[in-house]
Symmetry: C2
Subunit: 186 residues, 2 copies
């Protein structure tokens, strides 16, 4: 890929989200996105399988970060602490793009088709986290329960982080939510 | 609706799941389902919006049972106990149809399109449970955390219940999973 491509990719993502918020996902075509981003449709399809995938390009890196953090975490941590710490690693990846995260969340919340895909990605993330916990010797159902609870912590913290009352520190939101989920079962 | 219709409905659900497992969701048409169930396509569309919805007709009753159980639960229960108890009410609705539940789960697991819809229904269930907890005076983020953890308990217990090692008692699986999630955070 040429040096200009990361910019084109960023422009296509921004253009897509703007258009989904302005006129709706169903009413936006790939041609519209390409036009606004100043690229050809062919360029669009070199980067993204379809107009839905534009919003999900980061999810593999997110999953890799979570799995790597679980594998690397100290054995002294409990399964749930391990999962929560791994969600902090995911949060760190998003930290610098809060405005983008907020717009993306708004586009997803208003489009069932996008929300379904987001939920599938979160479910895949949870399964990968459970698998990573099992490779560390955590048995079932503990691995799955810890992984799913970790994803719950992630997404409740995400909603708080993009909210207006947040300090803007995503990792701190994760730590606060983790404390609250412990209080819930204490 | 005539008295014969509940049977036709059951036949269409069974026919749809059989066909999804035999030849795949994408390769099954509404005409195939109607033919196997011995009804017309018009009858199919009187009952279901599309071939995906056939598998999701029970989700409203499930959600109503969960919300009603939360509203009716004793105020002495903690938010998470309330959510877990409500999941027992949902489990009771499915208890007598384990074979159907198992086939439906297999069809859903093998079809991303169906899995996405299932995840959306679970997300809607969680939001409704959180709303019911808030009407009982539970604040945020506790209401959302308890509701999401309740749905995690439900679905981990569901997987155990349809597994071969289960005693077959879905409510008991819920109670066991609840105990395990408490141990996780203890």
């Amino acid at each position: 890929m040429g040096r200009w491509e990361p910019d084109a990719r960023g422009r296509m993502r921004a253009a897509a989200i703007e258009l989904y918020l302005e006129r709706g996902f169903d009413e936006t075509t790939v041609a519209d996105i390409a036009e606004r981003a100043g690229v050809t449709e062919r360029t669009f399809f070199r980067h993204f399988a379809d107009k839905r995938e534009v919003l999900f390009v980061g999810s593999e890196q997110l999953q890799e970060a979570v799995v790597a953090a679980i594998i690397a975490s100290p054995p002294s941590l409990s399964p749930l602490e391990t999962a929560a710490t791994a969600m902090e690693a995911a949060a760190a990846l998003l930290q610098d793009n809060r405005d983008y995260a907020r717009m993306r969340a708004a586009a997803i919340a208003s489009t069932p088709n996008l929300l379904e895909r987001e939920l599938l990605k979160m479910s895949t993330l949870s399964a990968a986290a459970a698998e990573a916990l099992r490779t560390r010797g955590v048995g079932e159902p503990t691995a799955t329960l810890a992984a799913e609870t970790g994803v719950t912590i992630f997404h409740v913290s995400f909603q708080r982080w993009i909210g207006d009352d947040s300090s803007g520190d995503f990792r701190q939101e994760i730590r606060d939510t983790y404390a609250q989920i412990r209080a819930l079962t204490g």
